[in-house]
Each structure stands twice: as structure tokens, then as C-alpha cells.
Symmetry: D2
Subunit: 355 residues, 4 copies
């Protein structure tokens, strides 16, 4: 109810501020008997953490996850999986200058108005550091979805777009560059642009595209809990996200029905896939694909006007170790949230799909 849980059957609840002792979470509802691949979890954490390359934040976060329960002799026991990510590198003094001020386009102001106080050290609960817990849970969720492939990648940075359909891309190349764009030429342009933006002390937005393959038919519940509605909510819950579209998306709104309908093949697959793998909220076995829009990071290394809690405006020089462009690091987060959504529907479907 207070917003810190995701999912119903495969349910993640998280806690933690960016500058407290630790972040952590509880995964409740993970089936028993799964031999967890801890290396896979560690690898996802590495992908999310800052300081991986010159185009992302140079903060150092070790992001070592400690599993405290729910696992015995390497296998899940069916009891809740508690985990902890200690905050080993909090530098509270980085943030002391914002104690009495509200930064533009941050959550400082609304937290203080809503709760009457706020943990002003860093972003507190609204920091993107919170997404580390999502990545842990997503990496566990993927392991109960063995055959489903989830591949996200950066599809645009600022005005630089991949100009190919996803089918023309080789997802194995996504990790081959710092931007996480599987098209090498475009990746280079993006990287150059991000470096330029960084020099300006500025930031830039971008989009992440995610493709989910080998999805069984039948995932998703009709009416309010449509599969794409939950995917949309999951993506929009990630910091800095401003939009979500799946299948034909906003382009579909410009089309005619005779262009948009996906004709069947005799085996139930479809010749085209403008539907994006989902009909009436339920997966139809075709690829699911969607696109997520991220705004530019609000923290600039420039002078900006900030509001004080005395209702005056003062100029403040941004500082710290922030990302000039958030989308490369958003890639594993998008995948993690997709995995959480799928895991939940996969478990629900064990009940409702009439085999």
C-alpha cells in the first residue's frame, strides 16, 4: 500500500535509503527447490553498478548482496529470501549542501511536503540506488523462467537512434560497448555524444528497448491486470521514466486497422507482430517488445537555481558523481523489472491456465 512491494505471488518488498547503512529486500513466493546461480545474480549487479566505464557515474558502490534466508545448501526452500546490500561508500558530505534546499526536478520538495520531513542525505529513498534491490530480485526471477529470453538495450540517446528493427540486431553485442547498444556504429556515436554532454556538465535522456522471446502463450490476466499494463507499470516505476509503448506503440495510433492487424499463420503464429506479442492483455507466443523513455538526469554539474525551505531561490553549483546519461545503466534494471512481471504471471498462470 505504501509502495514498497512489487508483485503478488512472486513478491519483492524493499527498503533502504541511499545513505543509510544498507538497502535490502525480501522475495516472498519464490518456489522451492531452485538451485540458484549466484554468479548470474552477481553479474547483473555488476551491470547496474556505477563506475563501470567513463560514461557513467564514477561513484564506487560495491553492491555485494548478502542472502540471509530462504536458501539452504544452494537451493531455495520456499521460505522468504531476505537479502542485504550494505552501503559501503556513502559520502553524506556530498549532500550536506542540499539539506535546506529543493533541487529542480528532484523529489526533495514533494517528499518534504508529503511526509513533513525527509532524509536529505542524497536522494534518500528516491535515489536510483534503490534499483539495486530490483536487480537482485530480477536476477532471481529469471531463474524460475528458464526458457524465456529477456534482452534490453539502449535504442536511443538524445537524438541518436538505432535505425534498424530489433530483428536485425545481435543482442550478444549489447555488452560489447559502454553504452549497451548492440549496433556498433550507433554505439560509438552515442558514446561520443555522452562524453560531450558530460564535459558540458549536462545530461541527456534516451530510450531502452526490451525484447522478450520464447514466452509461452497465456501469460497475463484479462481486464485490469493485462500483461502489458503490468509491464508498463513496472517500467514507469523506474526512476526517470516518462513513457512506455509496446508493439506498434504510438506509431500504431497513426495507422489503419487494415495495416495494423496481424494475420495468422496456420500454426497460430502471426505474419506480422504489431501487437507486440500480446492480445487482450495475454501473451500470444510472439516476441514481446516495448520501449521505455528516460528523461535526462536532473542533477547537473552546472549552476542551477534551487528553492530553499524559506521560500527563496538561490543559485547552487551541482556537484557529485552523477551519470551524464542514465540509459546504459538502466538496461539491467529494465530487464530485472520485466523478469519480475513475467515471474508473477508465470506463477499465476500455473493456476489459471487450463492445460
Amino acid at each position: 500500500m505504501a509502495g514498497n512491494s512489487y508483485g503478488t505471488l512472486f513478491r519483492l518488498t524493499t527498503f533502504g535509503e541511499s545513505h543509510g547503512d544498507a538497502l535490502g529486500g525480501i522475495i516472498d513466493g519464490c518456489p522451492a527447490g531452485i538451485s540458484l546461480d549466484f554468479e548470474a545474480i552477481r553479474k547483473e549487479m555488476q551491470r547496474r553498478k556505477p563506475g563501470q566505464s567513463s560514461i557513467v557515474s564514477q561513484r564506487k558502490e560495491d553492491d555485494e548482496v548478502q542472502f540471509l534466508s530462504g536458501i539452504f545448501e544452494g537451493r531455495t526452500t520456499g521460505t522468504p529470501i531476505g537479502f542485504l546490500i550494505p552501503n559501503t561508500n556513502q559520502k553524506s558530505d556530498d549532500y550536506s549542501h542540499i539539506k535546506d534546499t529543493y533541487r529542480p526536478s528532484h523529489a526533495d520538495y514533494v517528499y518534504e511536503k508529503k511526509y513533513g520531513l525527509r532524509d536529505y542525505r542524497g536522494g534518500g529513498r528516491s535515489s536510483a540506488r534503490e534499483t539495486a534491490c530490483r536487480v537482485v530480485a530480477g536476477a532471481v526471477a529469471r531463474q524460475i523462467l528458464p526458457d524465456i529470453k529477456i534482452n534490453a538495450f539502449v535504442s536511443s540517446v538524445g537524438e541518436i537512434f538505432i535505425d534498424k528493427p530489433y530483428q536485425a540486431l545481435d543482442f550478444s553485442l549489447t555488452e560489447s560497448n559502454a553504452v549497451r547498444c548492440p549496433d556498433a556504429a550507433t554505439a560509438q556515436k552515442m558514446e561520443d555524444y555522452i562524453k560531450e554532454i558530460r564535459k558540458q556538465g549536462d545530461t541527456v535522456g534516451g530510450t531502452v528497448t526490451c525484447v522478450i522471446q520464447n514466452v509461452p502463450i497465456g501469460l497475463g490476466e484479462p481486464v485490469f491486470d493485462k500483461l502489458h499494463a503490468e509491464l508498463g507499470k513496472a517500467m514507469l516505476s523506474i526512476n526517470a521514466v516518462k513513457g512506455f509503448e509496446f508493439g506498434s506503440g504510438f506509431c500504431g495510433a497513426r495507422m489503419k486497422g487494415s495495416e495494423h492487424n496481424d494475420s495468422f499463420n496456420e500454426d497460430g503464429t502471426t505474419k506480422t507482430n504489431l501487437s507486440g506479442g500480446i492480445q487482450g492483455g495475454i501473451s500470444n507466443g510472439m516476441d514481446i517488445y516495448f520501449r521505455v523513455a528516460f528523461k535526462p538526469v536532473a542533477t547537473l554539474l552546472q549552476k542551477q537555481e534551487v528553492l530553499t525551505n524559506q521560500n527563496t531561490l538561490i543559485e547552487q553549483q551541482g556537484k557529485g558523481r552523477h551519470d551524464p546519461c542514465v540509459v546504459p545503466r538502466a538496461v539491467p534494471i529494465v530487464e530485472a523489472m520485466a523478469a519480475l512481471v513475467l515471474a508473477d504471471f508465470y506463477l499465476i498462470n500455473k493456476i489459471y491456465q487450463n492445460h
Copy 2:
């Protein structure tokens, strides 16, 4: 869990197939003591129902809602509000031809695969007729949100867009034309285009923009239940929706932080509003605005290939009384879902906002 409820505190649960005896729902969690304006509810139902003009479906649905409980002497009692919308105009024979076939880009195929059977009369549960219950509940929800103004309108049909910011529009004109576009010149173009499309037996998509004004600061819960994430889910749960963006949306992903940040005024309002009235998932008191993409209706009055349950493809002539363009009728549905989301957060905030 099975997808037929929306909301947590102000909670709507619905039932009903397009060709059963009735649709209906239960609103649980409506506060006591509210003098309901039944005329306002009736008016919203009128806006949604087919047959209002020449550019929408000519089906006749009386859509009279009967309230069965939870209201005494005109006021809500705090007990659940049960309501019924009888299906007075079901023409099952319109649909008998689809008993053994699956129409392209409909939910027929996935329902049958998921559940092992389906109510083949019309769209069954996946019919947009289901949205009638949303409109009833949304019209009740609005009445616990007295000062908040929710105005949706058609912002594009096919390639025809309103080329003005919403601030330049007069929402009182939305109902003055059949398209529900508050810009008269654009509305005329849209109407002409829809008529042309209808003659072709074709359909066309479009977008609905929604503006919410006078929102108190503090609505929305951090992390997973961000206000815009719930708005996104609510909109994506409406039939035919393919995308959602709020504030700067997908355009924001092309921008730099120095362009995108909304500078404060001394009173806590902001000079610009690319954030779309929401920071960190919580309303900041500025206008909330978002845009919803609807694909073209899949049912065409043309010949199309359909899949039979014997795994063959046959040609079928579409017939019936369908909408050539769904967006005009989607306007009250978008508003209703927005009202449901806001009502839920408004009630939650009674607990969590520290006044």
C-alpha cells in the same frame, strides 16, 4: 489476482461478458456520507455508450446502471456499492460466425489457449463493453475528489494532430463535436477523415490526452506505486491502448537536463512543467498531463483471413456495428480510469501525508 479488480482502498471489481445477461461491479471502500450525483453518473454513461453520433458504432446499448446497495437516502453508507448494467441489446447471432474462428488481432485465440474454452458471443469478457463498469465507478470516484478537474480529449486521429499545447485549448468545447476534440478546426478534419475511413470499412487509431488540474501535493507512493506508474497501468488496461507518456514523455528522452529541469518559483510551483506534475512518483501540485495511444479497432468491415480451430485459414467478411475510430468514445473511459487512480491515492494519502 485474476485481474478483475482495480485499486486498493477505492476498489472496483467487475464482472460481465458482452453478451451475457448483465455487466456489473462492486465499489468497495467508498467513504460514507457522500451525496451522490446520479445525473453526473448517467451523463458519463451517455458519453461512453455507442450510437451517439454517425462516427461511432451504431449499436444500441441503453447502459442504464442500477445501484443495488451501499446507498441509503441518496448518500453512501460506507458499505459496498453493488451495481448492475443489464445487457438489453445483445445480438448473439451477429457473432455466431466466429464460434470456430479466431479473428486477427483479437483476444479470441489467447482466451481459448489460456482457458481451454471461451464465450464466443462477441468479445465476451475482452469486449470493450466491459469499460461501462469503469465509467460508472469513475463517475463515483470523481465525487470524492471535488476540486480536482479531469479533462481528456482527442488529441490525434491517424495523422491529424492538434498542433497547440493544451494550455491553448478550451476544454468546455470538447463535447461540442462528435470527435471530442476541443479544437474546432482540427475536429472537423478528424471527423471528415473518420467518415472516409468508415466508408472503406476500415478503422483508424488515435491518441487521447488527459489533463488533471488542482491536484493536491503529495498524491502517489514512492518506489513501485508511483502516481504515474499507476496512471500508466490504468490507461494501458483499457482496450486497444499501446502506449502511455506523461509530461515530456518520449520527447523528454531526446532532451538535455539543462533544458528539461523545471525551475522553481518561490511558492514551490515551477516555471515550466516538463515533469508533468509528478516528481519521484508524487504529485507536486502542477498540472498532470499524459497522452494515451490507441491502435485502430481490429474489427474491419472488410474481408480478412481468420484462423479456424482446425488450424486452417479462411476468408471472412467482417460485419456488425463497430467503431471506425475508438478514441472519441475512449475519452470518458480515460477520465474514469484517471479518477479511479486519483481516488485511491487520495484515500491512501489521508493516512500517509503528515499534515
Copy 3:
């Protein structure tokens, strides 16, 4: 949240006041493909309704249930099952005398204090008439639990108790007398006593015992959602219930561990069953049995002091058609609630039991 739903996967939401137009409910989460036995549902409704014999209320309630959705050609479709029970025999004038008064040990007073108003016609939402919806849903729930046998019966009325263990009873005799006590001699004593109580214009309490057999091992979730904890909540939610015990119950609190432990047989069954078929909140395959205490009905056909809404006490003569003893009619309600609890855990277990 507002208390009108029961269950998570097999979820019943109800509405309706005793003197409104209708009661009704929605069953969401019933699996698809079940051929419903409507006669079985009707029969359970008959067992619950008043006027069946001289020892229960002589109100006439037809209690015809109308199913409005979720069923197609006799089978469940996986979509929500909406149902309606019209109130055909409301006599509001029976209750006009209580408009401005609060009856002792009724909910009149607390409803008015909580909600600021109340539907004073009869018990409104707090009337036991509400349990009709539970019986409908319970009768559906039983049909997804084919091999599990649920048998409730009256085990005491006032000071008259069955003095045999349940194993010595023949449950097929429960319906052979008006009291629903499977021991004929005790049933006769109970019936005589209830008739005497009725002549006095008084009422009397009693207990219902319920035995559930053929339960698979593994139902129930650890820690907070233990099987017996949910059974307890379900029973305590029935009007007039004051206590719940299972297995050894309150007697167990007097025993020593060496007397109480249930030794195993080699096949995993136990030699004794003081545990009542549940260990650590999870069914162990032995019979589940529990006992529910019902207080005497508060409405007396005698003079009683009532409180007015002007804070004065006045004498009022009780009238109407109330039950002198509620437990005979409570038997099918206890069974229905047990079925709802089991159905929910049965569905959950499809996910969590590691087969």
C-alpha cells in the same frame, strides 16, 4: 481493505443490505472448465434459508441465485462469476421502530458512530442475510475440491452437548433433523429446548463442529497465513461467533506434551490427532476438525432497554421473525467458509507445492 472480500486467489467480494433490492457477489479466480452443479448450489441455499422448520426464523426468503457471468454452456470460463440474490421479501416496516434507537448487542450503534449514518432497515449490512452470498460462493468452491469432504454439524445447544467423539457420528444423519445434529437422541433434546426457549421469547447459543476429511498434505502457508489461522478468521467473520478452536483446542492448553504429541505411523499418518490435521500451519493429511462458538441471537421477543440517538434509554418490545437459536442455520455457513478457505489454499498450493 473495507472488508467485503474474502480470499486471495479464489476471491469472493460481496455487497448488499438486508433490505435493499438485492444481495450479490463476484467470485474472481475460479478456474476455467468446471462443469458447475447448480443443483448442489441451490441445495446449500435451501439449507441456509430461514423458514425451513419450526425452530428457525419463519421469514420467507426465496434466495434464488442468478448467475450473470463467468459461465458459458454450463462451464466456468475463467472470467469472474457475478451473481445476484434479489431481496424479494423485505418488510422494512418491521424495522421502522429502530430508526432512532440502538439495540443492545447489535451493530446499530457502532455503524452509526463509524460511518456517521446507517441503513436502519433491518441489520443492513450487518444482517446475517449477508451470509447467503457466502453460501453461494462456498458451494462453488466445493466444486473445485472434489475429494475433500466437509461436514459440519451442531455439537451443542446451550448446555446440551453431543457426548461422543466425531468419529462415532454418522454425518449422513445431520440433515435428518431440524437441529442438524447427527446424534438423534441429542438432537431431540436440543429441539425440545429450542422450542421452550422460543416460547420464552428468548434465544440460546450453541456450537458447530466441522470435520474436513481427505485433505491433501501441504495446504496452508507458514508463519502468518497458517491454515488454521485462516480457518479461524473465516469462522470468526460469521455473525455471532465468539470463539474458535481446532484439534485439542482449549483442552490442549491443559495437557502435557507427553500426552499431546501425535506419534507417527510408518506411513506418515499419526496414531492420535490432537493436532487436528495441521502442523505448523500446514495440513498433514489427517482429519481437520474445529469447533465454533455462537452466542445467542441478540434480538429477543421480549421487552429490552434500547438506547436512542438522543442518549436516552427507552423500553422496546422486540418483534419480527428471528431465530431462537442460530446454530442449525449456521451449519451450511460454516461449511461454506471452510470451502472458501480450502479453495484458496488449494489454488495457492498449485504454485508452491514442489511435486
Copy 4:
């Protein structure tokens, strides 16, 4: 869904096995701005922990709770409160003998059957050690309920009962003896009896009575979420509980309505209180009181037959440091669960009570 959360608005989710690295939990939904009394929390933990006196288990558990988030400068921030209780004194070797065996009246057997494996070190998740997290959360919950007084005490051990109504007891004496019985003479008898039982290597059951005073009118939701139904579920979810009754309880089932009804005073209070402070599921402002039955602890320091996972029966000598009687340590757990229930309804009531 998997049973490790309690509450809806004030929501506790827990994790942890008795012999893992740590237990812990997340409290989500605690309002912001509360200055937490950490000493009060520590004190409740002390009351629960073993080794406090000669009549309880001599295990040493430090039970130091570490708060990791949601608190800033001593006050709650409205974000989730994560906490950790390290297991500093696990002696896994105490339990190695039960790896391949199932102890009578323990959860070993059903966990293994349900999940296909179990953490055999101690009780794992089914250990009463899990209740430490409940006590932490309950101690926080009490601090949002400032005027409500919750007093539990041991009302019986075996056949030894307090023979006075609770009104004749001085709750300030509860902590004055090892049994937590506020009647000194009875406490002495109980203590002597428990020592005798311990010498026999046996255990004994008992009851805890809880009295809640200064409850505002209006807590509890009608129909399924009645206040006493939730209290019942909360109590029945505690390890070893076999029964729950409130107000007149099982005695009420023997009474006549003319004896049982609670007549009003002119101020809305009642002359008697057989209702136990709750009418129709909603608090009426009178004292709430209930009684909870605990079975004797199943672990005996005697020889018992156990089942092996090879389906043979062998004799095993119980060993370890278990409680001869669980009820003294159950007192703070009962209070904690009562506080959790009340906190949840107290928050819900902020929405639904029409002031």
C-alpha cells in the same frame, strides 16, 4: 500470498530461519514523523527472549535489533523500516540428529512434503524464533497507538487457572514474576508446577489472556475483516496456538440471549461487556478482551518415537534447551500481534470513519 506478511496498511513482512545468519523484516506503511522510543522496543525484545528465568529455555539469544532504514534523526520518515536480528547463538549441532527424521507434532514432516526439502537446522522457518520479528514490529506499532493499552498475561498453566475476572487484577504485577501471571499466589503455583514438569523432561500448555483498553469506537471493518476475526487470525498464527475466544467466548455459546445482551448506559457504554468490546466486528469503546490457548511444546527431553525419511520409526532422546511451558514468553508476542492488528485498523479508520 506465501504467508510472510501481516497487515495491509501497517504491513510487516519477515524472513529468516532459526539457524541462518539473521532474521529480519520490513515494516511498510508506518506513518512519518514518529519519534521512536528504541528503549521500549529493546524492552519488548528482552521480554520475549529465552534465558530470562529458570522456567524458560536457557538458550542465549541476544536479540539485538538493528534498524537499517526508514528512520532519520530518530523519527520515522514514512519510508519502509528495514530491520535485522542477527542469529549470534546458532548451535546447528544441536539439531544434526533430526536431519533425516521427523519429530512428532512438529512441522518437519509437512515442510518436507510441501516443499520437497527443508532447512533441517532447528525448526528453520517454523521455529518460534521467527516471533522475534513480530515483537519488533509490534513494539513499533504500539507507538502509533499512544492511548490504547494492551496488557496480556498468563491466565492458566495446565490445570492451574486464575480464578478472578481481569478487572480484579493489577496488570503492573505481570512482570513481577517469572510466569507473567499478575496474581501472585497463582503465579507461585504455576511456577512450582512448571519446575516439576521440567524435571520430568515434559512440557505443559496454558492460556494467555489479553485486555485492550481505551480503544476508540469504530475500529474494524464489517463482514470479512471484523476486528475480532483479525485478532483471531493474528493469535492463531502464533506457534502452538490451538484456540481463540473473545468476550464471552465458548461460555457465551451456553447462554441465553436475555443473559448475554449488554444493556446500554445513556452515554453509549454498556452495563456488562459479554460482547468483549466488539459489536458486528467493530470496536464499541468498551474493553476488548480475549483468551488464547497454547498447546504444550512438542519438543520433550524424553525418549520419543520419530519417523525417518525412510519410513521407519526409531526412538530418539530429545535434547536441547527448550521451554517447559511456552506461555510466559508468549505474553509479549500476543501483545505484539494485538498491536499489529490495531495499528492496521487504526490507519484504515483514518479513511473510513466519518468524523
